[in-house]
Amino acid sequence: MTSNAARAYELDRHELWSGFKQLLPISLFVVVFGLAFGLAATQSGLDGTSIVIMSTLVFAGASQFAALDLWGTQVPLIPLAITVFAVNARHLLMGATLYPWLRHLPPARRYGMMLVVTDASWAMSMQAFGRGESGMGLLFGGGIALWLAWILGSWLGLHFGSAIHDPMSLGLDMVMGCFMLAMAIGGQKSLRMLAIWTVAAGSSLLAYRYLPENSHVVVGALAGGLLGAIWMEKKP
């Protein structure tokens, strides 16, 4: 990240559309994910309308799957809220990493864009910002593409979910993992980054094993960030 980090980027319609289109291929995978969610939710006893409302308003796949584990004729509200928060706490970090670029936008627009922030669009836009380009279209346009894909997939899952018998045998559970890895490798590579990654991976694994469930992403990310703050990049 260099001094142009603070450069102001605006969002125009053309860029929004371009970001939307760039996330369409990933959106196809998200449709299949959503399909798996719709099917699993039906099996957990949720009705169709509720499933579509949940996917529309929550739009956070991993936490929605986690909620299904707690679903029954009664739902424990506080454990559910804590689980959803823990699984989605990575959004806090994504927001923090986006802030240097979003701070120049008017607050309404800034918070409006964050409504649809999600892993894939965040990763793509951070890469664009890192290259010194604007990632606004990827973040918002791409986020909208992924949001619509998630809703569409969940709805399809209600009706046609049984067509996919075993998403794992098709490798579909690996979509997000492979995407994240590709984004990480596509980023900056240096000895410093390698050290940061090692610390992030190591502390994530330790947290995964020894700390409460779902804490590993936040622990790993903060540990990597701390090393980055101590071992700073040379001035450009």
């Binding site: 739902v75 424990p76 809220a81 970090l93 579909l172 990597g224």
Partner: protein, 103 residues
């Protein structure tokens, strides 16, 4: 506190999930608006953005089945060779699917 999953109950549960998730989406930029962005904070943020990705993937690689590991390996190799994410992701998924088909 348990909520009955009647029509209204389910809606209440979904709304709680939505509000909690929205708080995570807004919380990060909200808190950062009180933090002066100096060089150290910028380094922290950029290191953290790569670390989020690594922290997500690491348990998959260590605790996943061989299909998962092979998928990540295929993605890493393709990404290093071609530097294009989509072929890299496709290679990973195909690797996992093929492995699980035969083993």
């Amino acid at each position: 506190m348990n909520i009955e999953t009647s029509a209204i109950g389910t809606l209440v549960v979904i709304l709680v999930m939505a509000v909690v998730t929205l708080a995570t989406r807004w919380g990060g930029i909200f808190v950062m608006s009180f933090v002066p962005i100096g060089r150290r904070v910028q380094n922290f943020i950029s290191a953290m953005s790569g670390s989020v990705l690594v922290a997500l993937v690491a348990p998959l690689a260590v605790n996943g089945d061989s299909g998962a590991r092979l998928a990540l390996l295929a993605t890493a190799a393709t990404m290093l060779l071609l530097k294009k994410p989509l072929p890299a992701i496709a290679a990973g998924i195909v690797a996992a699917a093929l492995f699980r088909q035969f083993f």
